[in-house]
């Protein structure tokens, strides 16, 4: 069974430019998460989807971040415009009810 797939693995952009990350969850997993991980910290939730509905986006900086999961399967996370402080690893994970969350390999974003 394929795991959570994220792309790209690495991205370097100049500040004020837009960037987008893509995630394909494990087949059959209804819950999809986007996490932010800074160096030396644990994953911090940005947004959680149940199917196509965003049920928890309280930690998503909505002035510059947006996300979508249109058909309840794969998802994109966008930052526009990017700031230097957005440099981090962006992790996507998926789960079913009663199971652990399984993570993709992450996208390491560097804003210069």
């Amino acid at each position: 069974e394929a795991g959570v797939v994220q792309s790209p693995r690495y991205k370097i952009i100049e500040k004020k430019q837009p960037v987008a990350f893509w995630c394909n969850p494990i087949s059959g997993h209804n819950t999809l998460y986007w996490y932010l991980q800074n160096l030396g910290q644990g994953p911090e939730l940005l947004i959680r989807y149940e199917n196509e509905e965003a049920v928890d986006d309280s930690q998503l900086p909505k002035d510059r971040f947006s996300a979508e999961r249109l058909k309840g399967v794969d998802s994109t996370l966008k930052i526009q415009p990017a700031e230097l402080g957005d440099s981090a690893v962006y992790l996507c994970a998926s789960s079913s009810q009663g199971t652990a969350a399984f993570f993709g390999q992450g996208t390491r974003l560097t804003v210069v």
């Binding site: 644990g42 928890d56 994970a93």
Partner: protein
Amino acid sequence: DQQVKQNSPSLSVQEGRISILNCDYTNSMFDYFLWYKKYPAEGPTFLISISSIKDKNEDGRFTVFLNKSAKHLSLHIVPSQPGDSAVYFCAATAWGTGNQFYFGTGTSLTVIP
């Protein structure tokens, strides 16, 4: 407010000895606890979990212990191997409130050959 805490940023252990990683939580509603392992440049990998109805769960060299009264869990690795060197994250969730996982800040384990 950090609901899951790992107070030891790092731990070094000799190969073959026991590694004990600790985790504390504050939310009494948590009923499912997990440990993840993370290598550099990779996403966290699920390692082992435990439900609040148990106080111990074992999987090969890995055992997780849960002390609900103390709101504390620990991961024991016996015997430790150099390949176990990684960052370990503790996580918790309350199934009744949805599939929301809360993570600690991680403990970097180094197993010395």
